[in-house]
Symmetry: C2
Subunit: 278 residues, 2 copies
């Protein structure tokens, strides 16, 4: 496994890789969700590049950039075991040299949900994704459904800018009790951790209500909120039932909906989502 | 010469082209300035792609999009004569399909000069350049020095986003009387056309003053403005003497400066520029 820290070296190495090239961009502190992306990339491509880069521009001024969990040695051991060929691990100076000043934005899709809570977040996400795509030039890039809006936004950017790659979205990987895998789960104290599966439980509730024929989103959201509010440590930031292509809020579910939520435990912000219908 | 109107066809044809691939993006209504770019691309690359696309997103709401001059047959004849292999001539629907929503912006460099007069202009320029670069995937892309700020902004974007191409800037081509070649010169009536070389004359004046040791930009600008104001049809929009890398206005010229200007004749806006020093 080769670890590359500079853009010029990554570009040189890239052109020696066998096609197709699968790419898994990560912020490190890997968990089984990331590894499921690496495995999928491995299965579908002749070469696999994984990037580890905690991208500062997608964190707000009051967010957890400095204390975002990092463990490079553990990450590398996990990637080695998966048979990863290339790990791209650039520095901030390499990605955002002095005077850096170009930004990629997807407009409407980034306004609601996560964008509403984190107004500069998606500008950072699309900018780093565009940069990494240009550096790695993958055939296929893999993202997790857990960050549903991120996956949609990156897909939109790649399509709109005529990028020459496929964005592939893979299912959320969960702990046995249903909590979606996330690097941020490490922030939870034992009590919070015990309570956190309520996010998934509320999604299952929405799924059941929909299966029973309930389509009024206000009612579904209300039942989900009531369930979560039984957990004294959980603070709902939003619960959304939206058009899965445009992210516009729905009053009634017709064919399909993306149910998504952000819930805070202390300072730790958890997100999760589920698709309803087809 | 092959004329291609869709993105998928352009992508297929591109991968059959011999490397390196030179690319000249234009808005059509070609003149000798464009042809000098095509010749340079031809001399430096094994294949040449020229695009003709009047990009709506770089025009302001009150600008000349609908009456921007167009003459496809003449353009194609000129490009055929130059030995161009591929002309990419997409429709608006092909470049900005319904729901298009992704924008590329270079921040500080786009604020002064043209950006100050045309606040949404450069967002359109960098967005279409990113799209065309992703579609054509050139080795080298050619731009004219006449649009000095545009060339700088596109260079900055390509560098910041780690694009895999060289942006090459070629000298301004002028009419025998010094007027910079521009598709918009066709708007000038005979009297305006006769007066318009005063832009170049004022640049030559700046050059002479600098050669004589004058470095105070207020004085140089003052003499330039006085010369232009002798022309009753000319209305100065701006005269700038700026750092050629950052476009920040200079009080004193040290090593080098970009002298640039916009002057209106009726509704026709002309720009020109010259580098002083090294």
């Amino acid at each position: 496994m080769k670890i590359i820290e500079t853009v010029p070296e990554m570009k040189i190495v890239r052109f020696k890789l066998k096609e197709p090239v699968g790419f898994v961009p990560t912020m490190g502190y890997l968990h089984k969700g990331h590894l499921s992306l690496v495995r999928k990339a491995k299965a579908e491509n002749k070469s696999v590049v994984v990037s580890i880069y905690v991208n500062p521009t997608q964190f707000g001024p009051k967010e957890d950039l400095s204390k975002y969990p990092r463990d490079l040695q553990r990450d590398l051991a996990m990637l080695e075991k998966e048979g990863t060929e290339i790990v791209f691990f650039p520095s901030d100076k390499e990605m955002y040299p002095e005077g850096y000043d170009t930004w990629v934005t997807a407009d409407k899709l980034t306004k609601p949900l996560e964008g509403d809570s984190r107004p500069t977040h998606f500008r950072g996400v699309t900018t780093i994704a565009a940069k990494l795509f240009n550096i790695v030039q993958p055939t296929n890039a893999y993202f997790g459904q857990k960050d549903a809006q991120q996956a949609l936004v990156i897909k939109k950017m790649a399509t709109d800018l005529n990028m020459d790659l496929e964005v592939i979205v893979c299912p959320t990987v969960r702990e046995p009790d249903g909590l979606a895998m996330s690097s941020r789960n490490v922030y939870l104290n034992p009590e919070q951790r015990k309570s956190a599966p309520v996010l998934y439980k509320s999604l299952l509730l929405a799924k059941r209500l929909y299966a029973e024929g309930k389509k009024d989103t206000e009612k579904i959201r209300g039942e989900m909120a009531a369930l979560i509010q039984k957990e004294p440590l959980a603070n709902i930031e939003y619960i959304s039932i939206a058009n899965p292509a445009t992210l516009e809020e729905l009053q009634t579910i017709k064919k399909s909906a993306l149910v998504s939520m952000a819930v805070k435990y202390g300072n730790t912000r958890l997100i999760d989502n589920m698709m309803l219908g087809e």
